[in-house]
């Protein structure tokens, strides 16, 4: 870990440091976890002291929060929002539903594993995770960024075909704009 950090050039180091300390989050309130976000950001837990603040649009955001189960219908929107975000971008997934489907594991319209559709940096376990857990998750992400390991967007682009194939399995009528990356 230390080695990796030291192997960065100074410019990279500064960049990663600033990325770490300035996380604009795009909270996609897909499920019940959305209610944890306000608690995390406001006075009680105050995520802003870590440089975390809300962003209104995917263009400005660094982190995409998937807060709970994802219906197939919602997945489409999540993919679009994710693709509209600019590199470097990170994804934090909340709760069991995004890990393994949670209580909706056998539902006909809820995906089970988020990772198969978009790359995820940090999973936060729980149903739902409490704000402490959320902040812990953010810290984990920050560590990952500082190490220079969080290259979510690159992973997505490199494995685009695989992700697309998975996405197509769920979203049968693919009407999304294709991006020229």
């Amino acid at each position: 870990m230390e080695n990796k950090r030291n192997s960065q050039t100074i410019a990279e180091y500064i960049k990663n440091w600033s990325r770490k300390h300035s996380l604009f989050i795009m909270a996609y309130g897909t499920g019940c976890g959305a209610i944890e976000i306000p608690a995390t950001l406001t006075s009680r837990y105050d995520a802003e002291r870590l440089g975390i603040r809300g962003a209104a649009t995917p263009r400005q955001a660094d982190v995409l929060l998937i807060t709970g189960y994802l219906a197939t219908k919602t997945l489409k929107r999540v993919i679009r929002v994710y693709e509209q975000m600019q590199d470097p971008k990170y994804v934090i997934a909340f709760g069991s539903c995004t890990i393994n489907g949670g209580m909706y594991y056998d539902s006909y319209n809820t995906i089970n594993v988020l990772e198969k559709y978009i790359p995820v940096d940090v999973y936060i376990n729980g149903c739902m995770p409490r704000p402490e857990a959320v902040i812990a998750g953010f810290q984990q992400l920050q560590d990952k960024i500082a190490r220079g390991e969080a290259d979510n967007g690159t992973r997505y682009k490199e494995n685009l075909e695989w992700y697309r194939a998975n996405q197509h399995r769920v979203i049968k009528n693919w009407r999304m704009p294709d991006y020229n990356w």
Partner: protein, 188 residues
């Protein structure tokens, strides 16, 4: 007691020769053939003041091969809720359309069409209502195997096998005893 309810039941019985009963205070239910349902609903709406259609709901009696449709209507003057129930064949499932009596019935009927595959002749509106790009059997039918579908379509996370008792697994993993009070929730 229950005079209003009895009175309503009698009116309906005399008008349509329906079966029915008073469930309890302010709840009345009647059964009839599906062809009669629109007539009954129209009559209770226009003559008895049951102006509010609460809901149309469906129960899948797979074993009988029937769908049971329940029309819930409410009267703001009598404060009575009337359940109009009917059973229709599962296959083909066809039910007279009542969205000319209540406009909002359109929404419920579209939902039923999508989720149960019940046809309402003359129903206006897109075939697709809540689901997007659904090409399987209507998902709320009981013979639709949702776990099979989920397994086929979505990726299962390794380590999560279906239908296992979570508590038991946890207990086995950690070596704890299951408390007495919790045993009744166990699967076996």
């Amino acid at each position: 007691m229950l005079e209003k309810e009895q009175k309503l039941l009698e009116i309906l019985k005399s008008a349509f020769q329906v079966e029915g009963k008073v469930i309890r205070n302010r709840r009345v239910e009647i059964w009839d053939h599906k062809e009669m349902v629109p007539a009954i609903l129209l009559m209770v709406k226009t003559q008895l003041g049951y102006k509010h259609l609460n809901h149309i709901t469906c129960i899948d009696w797979l074993e009988e091969g029937k769908f049971q449709l329940v029309y819930t209507v409410f009267s703001h003057t009598d404060k009575l809720t009337l359940f109009v129930k009917t059973k229709i064949d599962r296959d083909p499932a066809i039910m007279p359309n009542i969205d000319d009596i209540w406009d909002q019935a359109n929404t419920y009927e579209r939902e039923l069409r999508e989720m149960y595959g019940i046809e309402f002749p003359g129903l206006v509106g897109d075939q697709e209502f809540i689901l997007e790009d659904w090409d399987e059997m209507p998902p709320m039918r009981r013979d639709f195997k949702t776990d099979v579908y989920a397994e086929k379509t979505f990726f299962a996370q390794p380590g999560r096998e279906d239908a296992q008792d979570v508590r038991e697994t946890i207990t086995k993993r950690s070596g704890e005893e299951i408390p007495e009070f919790a045993k009744k929730y166990s699967r076996d």
